[in-house]
Amino acid sequence: MESNNYQLIDRKADQAAKVKLTIERTLVYIFLVFLTIICLFFFYLLFVNATRSHAEIQSGFTLIPSKHFFENFQKMWNLSGMAPVRKGLRNSFIIASISSVLTTYFSALTAYGVYAYNFKGKKFVETFILLIMMIPSQVSSVGFLEMCNEMHWTNQYWVLIVPGIAAPATFFYMIQHLRATLPLDLVEASRMDGSSEFMTFNRIVLPIMKPALAVQLIFSFVASWNNLYLPTLLITKTELKTLPTMLALLRSADFANMDNGLIYMVIFISIFPVMLVYLFLSRAIIKGVTSGSVKG
């Protein structure tokens, strides 16, 4: 069925619109690439300088990696004295792993308790946790530090780990996730099957929450790994210090007189583990930033 006036069809406006959209799109891509460069440039400089020796770094600017990466790595690994970075890595890892597991498990448990059971004050409990979420952690840090000093709890890891059991933000994420994914009928069905309440939580609810647990495990690990404020105050013994604390110490030393390649390597190794995890799990992590939050 050919239109009788098909020859008279006007394509000019259509072509112009196409060109306009292409130009707009190109400009947007240029903007995105520009931001990408901003995001990656400093980390690239970090990498380049972590591969260079002190002498090379002082000789001038370059974007080409050198070949002293392993040399710098060895120096970093064997660093002792004020900042034994190898021990810092280990200490940070221990604290972050245990505290992230505790935070995640107990947040899920608390959220499940509030979500699945009807008890007096249930509504109040949720509102209360929401309210305290807003209070900066630094407010309690004054009393907490005094308490630790008085009780001689300083230089003990558990004071950095145990308070993570009460994590309002993680609780909030978990309860949102439960609302979206766990029908209460399932809990009742499990009860009918003769499962105890704890067993139901551990065997039925936790597996269902796996995606949320994984995401919060990562977030709380990263938060603990990166934490500078409290560990600086509570850990004073050099061999017990965490990585960020050691960075702060290195920073207070005279930079110009230190092996710069080594310093870049220390910074690199502080960032690297998280980057490695992110490389593989970026999709899940980004989804976790919002999922179950904005859209209930």
Partner: protein, 399 residues
Amino acid sequence: MAEVILKDIKKIYPYVEKKTKNNKKGEPEKKHNLQITDKGVVAVQNFNLEIKDGEFIVLVGPSGCGKSTTLRMVAGLEDITEGELIIDGKVVNSIEPKDRDIAMVFQSYALYPHMTVYQNMAYSLKIKHTPKDVIDQKVREAARILNIEEYLDRKPRSLSGGQRQRVAIGRAIVRNPKVLLMDEPLSNLDAKLRNQMRAEIIKLRKKINTTFIYVTHDQIEAMTLGDRIVIMRDGFIQQIGTPQDVFDYPRNKFVSGFIGSPQMNYFDGKLLIEDGKYVVDVDGYKVTLSEAKQERLTANKIEPQDVCVGIRPDHMVIGKEGLEGMVDVSELMGTNAHLHMTVQNKDTIVIVPIINGYNDYVGKTVKLEFTGNLVHLFSLENDKNLEFINENVYSEVEE
């Protein structure tokens, strides 16, 4: 008013999800039979249609058939992968929706929640810098037509479903668009309101002079509203025609089953030639076809063959001879009864009038008669109607 031409339109949705992702949970593999190519899923293809000025076109088909996609391509909300869309003699493939002068009524109504009904309806005019008094006059005029004058100061949230629907239509008509698109506008209403609004749309259509493209999955809406109906399945047009044409002369088995309720019955039968005439034989019950059908079959040089015989439920009567079947269930509908029976081991529905009291057929074996002008013969090979086997989907029957 505008003429709309869709020429060889094709739409491919590129793959987004990887196949392996969700399959382990035993979900259904796929819901549709859309063609899949290297580039992605083909949602619409070979779509050709010329819509005349002021015509009311209905796109109808089961979910996933590509009707909404087609409508959204006309709206400019979806890219057109191939082909040309021409409105008023201008190709508009890349023209933005805002410059197409097309209005659309959405299935979800899409009323702006932060604006009052008045502001919702005035929005498109305000954008075009229409003088305030003109806006006011037009909005009130549309509100009067649709009976929503008293709600003008309310927010959409405080309106009922039917009222929102009217506002959505009002918003579309205030600006006298060249083309008015409707995407399943009645599907969120309950049955009673739906019937009422359907009648309103017919009335509205007489009042405003514009080209309509209406999408629905409901064949009754299609039959009652459309000047022409476009029946689609799996991205392909199955038939284009007037409601009567589509009902009387379905081009294939799918169309015959989709249009008409209850659905057409199908039997295994044979097409024979006896004494130079085409005769259809179902289980030994022979019926000579009508003259018109004889002519068309002859013109197509159809050979005797096994066929699928389609007969609508209201085109069969219980008589002395004919197809034998057992009545399983009888549904009383008031003036008639729907008999569910087993014929050739298949479920069959027959509508019988209730004239002199109701005759209880349940459990009885009855004989079904039919006449030669109301049978449809479909090829077992390709499901096409043998009378029209050489025609494409666009041709109409001349009577």
